[in-house]
């Protein structure tokens, strides 16, 4: 046993797969210990906030100490942030239509460009061929450009509760800074928020846990059913073999995914918990394990050591457990790993179709994909809502298949390099 384990860890492929898998496992175990927020808590009032550090504007204005930093490029950065090169080209287009000769327009000279813009822009002007979206874009651009070049600060005013009149309480100069560490409320959303306004990273960790659980339950159920039926059919033979193989062949011809869809649909949205889905997946994916185990057992049952065990007066159960099972154990472990990874994939497939676990309890990787798809994250370019999920699914199945290949190399010497 010790020898086998040592040999397994000498296989490069297995080690790589194992490391990836253990890393994922450690992350999903350790992360919830530090971040105890509910994964389904809705934070954002809106959809798909991009990844980044969110600083409370109110707290930063009221920050106890403010710092004045004279940074040369601060003004340039501020202008560039509001007036991108695309905006400059758009302004040039407008000015050309307004009748200004091209040689008088210099899009690199910000001051002159803005002067020309403010004197020529007219929101009511109807340019032929301009779409409504473009018209709105120019209105937004015009609003954001107001006061862009002003060096004045912004005045903070609060309403006097007695008189109802705004009173100046402070001024924020352009060179004022706050230290992010001193702002009371800062929230880091490494993967932004999803369509419901939930923290995607928090949700992803929980979803990975649930999906792994679904995979394990489905894999163990499928392997147990396949193993039991395979052992019975292979060892007992005769009519038992015929009946079991008939059922197995029946399940082989019906695509298991279609079966999965039909069963999930008939269970109904409200009854479909994550565990139910796992059981359903397990009950539809045992077929190939049963077939493979049966063929292995058939070749094993006529070996001399099985005959000797029979002659030693052992019962059928004893023979199956000690003389058959250890010989196919390596195969069964490999089948189990494969079943777990295919269980995770099956759950993702089902959930994308909207037939996964009900959406109110727990997130799963498949459900996150489903939500991202329904809210068109892929069309809107909100990559953080689906890409990390894809990557997680890919990494889990990749690491498991890699471990499987590694085990195959160890247990099947013909495949060794």
């Amino acid at each position: 046993m010790k020898h086998i384990i040592r040999q397994v860890f000498h296989s490069g492929k297995f080690v790589v797969g194992f490391c990836i898998f253990v890393t994922i496992l450690l992350v999903v175990i350790i992360y919830p210990l530090f971040i105890t927020d509910s994964p389904l808590a809705i934070l954002g009032q809106g959809t798909f906030f991009p990844p980044g550090i969110y600083v409370s504007t109110f707290d930063s204005i009221n920050s106890p100490t403010t710092y004045t930093l004279d940074l040369n490029d601060a003004a340039a950065v501020r202008i560039a942030n509001k007036l991108s090169s695309d905006d400059r080209l758009a302004i040039k287009d407008w000015l050309l239509v307004a009748g200004i000769p091209e040689d008088q327009i210099d899009i690199t000279d910000t001051k002159k460009l803005l002067d020309q813009w403010s004197s020529n822009y007219d929101p009511k002007k109807n340019i032929p061929g301009m779409t409504n979206a473009k018209r709105n874009y120019f209105v937004r651009l015009d609003n954001s450009l107001k006061g862009l070049l002003s060096a004045e600060g912004a005045i903070i005013a609060t309403k006097n509760p007695e008189t109802g009149i705004l009173e100046q309480t402070g001024i924020v100069n352009q060179s004022d800074y706050v230290n992010i560490n001193q702002v009371a409320s800062v929230r880091w959303l490494p993967l932004g928020t999803d369509n419901f306004g939930r923290d995607v990273l928090n949700e992803l960790v929980k979803a990975t846990v649930v999906s792994l659980q679904i995979g394990f339950v489905a894999g163990i159920i499928a392997t147990l059913i396949g193993l039991t039926l395979g052992l019975l059919a292979g060892y007992i033979g005769g009519i038992a073999d015929d009946v079991i193989m008939f059922i197995t062949n029946l399940f082989t011809v019906i695509p298991s995914f279609v079966l999965l869809i039909l069963i999930s649909f008939s269970i109904g949205q409200e009854q479909r918990g994550a565990f139910t889905i796992a059981v359903v997946i397990g009950f539809t994916s045992w077929v190939w394990t049963a077939r493979a185990v049966r063929s292995q057992v058939v070749s094993l049952r006529n070996r001399d050591h099985v005959n000797l065990s029979k002659l030693s007066g052992h019962s059928i159960v004893h023979i199956i457990l000690t003389d058959i099972l250890p010989y196919i154990a390596s195969y069964v472990i490999m089948a189990l790993i494969l079943q777990i990874s295919s269980g995770i994939l099956a759950e993702a497939g089902l959930s994308i179709l909207g037939l996964g676990p009900r959406t109110t309890d727990v997130p799963t990787l498949g459900l996150m994909m489903n939500w991202a798809m329904i809210y068109q994250a892929q069309i809107l370019g909100k990559w953080w809502a689906y890409f990390p999920v894809l990557l997680t699914i890919a990494l889990i199945t990749f690491s498991m298949n890699l471990m499987n290949t590694g085990l195959d190399q160890v247990f099947n010497p013909a495949l060794r390099d």
């Binding site: 001399d304 000797l308 002659l311 052992h314």
Partner: protein, 270 residues
């Protein structure tokens, strides 16, 4: 003489057919035999003549297509697992290939312990079990202290086959079926193993059914010889009758095929 001897194992019309329809293979074809208690019987034939199939039927590991086997004068009944286990207390086997005869996951101790348990010694104190196992091992010139906690595949082929005899020593069955026990072993170990088998038979008085392709060996050890060709017994009788005065062409061929030292081997019959 024959009247005094008690019938131990006999059969009439034993047939085994594998497959159905066109793929049908008749491995054993209507075979009759009478094995008497305490005899050494050899079943001789070339590869594929159905010796091993017959042996498995005698052991009850596979069922016969036709024919009945009688054990101690009564029709053998192995319809249930319990009856089979009872039958296997009386008949044991040594297989051809020692390397595949053992479960590679079980230690040698458990192989021998199984035998003690089968003889009803499950409740014996452990010290007594060790004593029995040591006795069995020393009978076959093995040291139990060296074998304990070892796996069968750590032994040599000869040692494994001797361990198999130690098993038989513990079980003391009425019939021992040795299916080419020495064909995978070198000549020196072969003599030792045959010697041990003979010694064991002399001590226990068991019936020894020897299955071999080596007619010289058969003549050397057995009381009666059955010659098997294509699933049929073509000739049978005492060793002297069959081998010194063979009637069948096939028997003569088998005898001529035995290589002899100092004599040119006649390959014309092959």
């Amino acid at each position: 003489m024959a009247d005094e001897k008690k019938l131990c194992l006999s059969g009439s019309g034993i047939t085994k057919v594998f497959g159905i329809g066109r793929q049908k293979t008749v491995a054993v074809d209507h075979v009759d035999f009478n094995f008497y208690e305490g005899e050494i019987i050899s079943i001789v034939g070339e590869s594929g003549s159905g010796k091993t199939t017959l042996a498995k039927m005698l052991l009850g590991l596979i069922s016969s297509t036709e024919g009945d086997i009688y054990f101690l004068g009564q029709k053998r009944d192995i319809s249930s697992q319990k009856k089979k286990q009872e039958y296997w207390k009386n008949i044991q086997a040594i297989f051809q290939d020692p390397f595949s005869s053992y479960n590679i996951f079980n230690k040698i101790d458990s192989v021998l312990l199984d035998c003690i348990h089968m003889r009803g010694g499950r409740k014996l104190p452990y010290a007594k079990k060790v004593e029995l196992m040591s006795e069995a091992c020393s009978f076959v010139n093995l040291k139990f202290e060296e074998l304990t906690n070892k796996y069968p595949f750590e032994l040599s082929g000869g040692q494994m086959q001797r361990l198999m005899i130690a098993r038989i020593f513990l079980l003391k069955p009425k019939i021992l079926l040795a299916d080419e026990p020495t064909s995978m072993i070198d000549a020196c170990s072969r003599a030792t193993i045959l010697d041990m088998l003979m010694q064991l038979r002399d001590e226990t008085g068991m019936t020894l059914i020897f299955i071999t392709h080596d007619i010289g060996l058969a003549y050397f050890v057995s009381d009666s010889v059955y010659i098997m060709e294509h699933g049929k017994f073509v000739e049978s009788g005492t060793a002297d009758e069959v081998i010194l005065h063979p009637k069948e062409v096939y028997t003569q061929r088998l005898i001529n095929d035995v290589p002899k030292i100092y004599e040119e081997w006649d390959l014309s019959t092959v």
